[in-house]
């Protein structure tokens, strides 16, 4: 219980420190509004002559994008933070503290995510309602499933970022790897629903973890069915647990070979 209280305090600190930097906080919300605005305009221009595409109307596509982008933009800075801690050698000062480095990063990240989610949610809802109105065919009873899937998507994204961040125990520069993984999650479910992709790519994407970050929650919001829920959420859980375990493993291996010069 005492251990839990310790990490809850870190979550609280994460929330407070993110709320203090008002400019960053507002800049994040404005950026979210900008990308949604651009995609709204893009979809409208594409659908100019056509009512729907792959079962998506402008209304559903805009809500799909809002849901997907909310998961992606409500991420924490865990990649950058772990990268810096390891490369600068600052991690050495954290190792002798009475907490687990990974759980500390996780708790701090959750604080950051909570603030970003609470900012992005009203911005996304407001823009969606103002621009395309209520989501067509919204199934209220599906919302708990969407919330579960959104949380899992955010957690999966977090552990993937943490995992890549900790590759810096071995590599001098892992930013290229980070960009590529990031873009894979953008292309396989953020910018476009998987239904838009060629069949072969769609089928491969369903086996990879990237689509379970943003595609799963956005798809459940716009086209909920129990069948889709049961086919996607268990895989989200599986990948989240897998990347959490991999993060713990890479940390325990990496920290053993850590060599910090100077003081």
């Amino acid at each position: 219980m005492r251990k839990l209280r310790k990490y809850l305090l870190v979550v609280k600190t994460g929330i407070n420190s993110n709320l203090i930097y008002t400019a960053d906080f507002l800049a994040g919300a404005l950026f979210f509004a900008l990308v949604i605005f651009i995609f709204m305009q893009l979809w409208e221009a594409i659908f100019f002559n056509d009512g729907s595409m792959e079962g998506y109307t402008v209304n559903r596509l805009v809500w799909y994008y809002i849901a997907a982008e909310m998961v992606i933009l409500s991420k924490s800075d865990v990649f950058r933070s772990m990268n810096e801690e390891i490369k600068s050698g600052n991690i050495a000062y954290k190792l002798n503290k009475p907490y687990s480095f990974v759980l500390y990063q996780f708790s701090e990240g959750m604080g950051q995510i909570a603030v970003r989610l609470m900012t992005n949610l009203p911005v996304g809802l407001l823009l969606g309602f103002l621009y395309v109105g209520k989501l067509e065919g919204l199934n209220i009873s599906a919302l708990p499933a969407v919330v579960i899937s959104t949380m899992l998507g955010i957690l999966l994204n977090f552990f993937m970022d943490a995992f890549i961040g900790m590759t810096s125990f071995w590599t001098e520069d892992n930013s290229a790897l980070y960009w590529i993984v990031q873009k894979l999650s953008f292309m396989l479910g953020l910018f476009l629903p998987l239904e838009f992709l060629p069949k072969i790519i769609r089928e491969i994407a369903l086996y990879l973890p990237f689509s379970y970050i943003a595609y799963a929650p956005a798809r459940l919001l716009t086209s909920f069915s129990m069948e889709e829920f049961l086919s996607m959420v268990p895989i989200q859980i599986l990948y989240t647990v897998l990347f959490a375990a991999l993060s713990a493993l890479i940390y325990s291996r990496g920290v053993r070979k850590l060599n910090v010069n100077g003081g």
């Binding site: 800049a27 404005l30 950026f31 900008l34 100019f48 520069d173 930013s175 290229a176 960009w179 476009l192």
Partner: protein, 293 residues
Amino acid sequence: MLMGDKKSGIQAKEKTGTRKDGDKGGRRLALSFLQHLRLICLYFKYNLLSAMEYRVSFILQALGMALNNAFFLFFWWVIFQKVSSIGGYGFKDVMVIWALSSSTYGFLHILFGNVRELPRIIMNGELDTYLLQPKNVYVNVYCSRMIVSAWGDLVYGFVLILLVYGFAPLKLLLFILFTAAGGLLAGAIMSVADTLTFYIGNSSGISRLVTEFLINFSIYPDSIYRQSVKVIMYTLLPTGFIVFLPFRLLSAFNWYGLLGLLAIDAVYIGISYLFFKRGLERYESGNLITTKL
């Protein structure tokens, strides 16, 4: 008559004097321009040599960035499998926009890597080092750093333009010119956001937003936006002059368009420089002793 001669003689002398002063001023300006061009070249050379010290990292970062951009090619390819045109833009047109944006921002961050870093430099009092050097602070501070991954952006743009137009020397020359002019214009706008730090305190949030707006408005066809957004794109955040007018000139060249574009670029850069100069007068040193390596 004599008086008149004397007067006209004095006037002639004054005129000659003014012309001489003007000539001197012009020569000084040209000399200063050349000196600063040399400074930019030297910074470029040493920044590149320093980046090449970590060759694997350099190649990884540049390739990673090029691959990162290539993912967007996939996005547009998928879209254009579904529709033949978006607001009058075809797949190749979007590729040209991407080539221009990518190379422009690549060029900017290779030569002027400290753009967007100025708020941090001012806030940390690191500007003192630049003030002590006998070079223009505006040029000196911005070109003293190179962003290695920007090489990936620059090369990616050139690869795309060669894929779209093939080896067409005139188009390539124009592309190089637009890359340089657009890069300077984008840098001037980002610099205005940076310079706000002199006036209102840390403006890094604004600077980041301005950059995001500039980049995001540059990589989608401008025809998708309404008139009000287009007004912003041709005034406050002039992506119209960074990417879209160059795109039109690449498709259908005309001299008036080119000269007009270069004149507009010069005005924006001039305003940005004056804004910086005014701001610099408000700078107060924190007397922090730093070393610039």
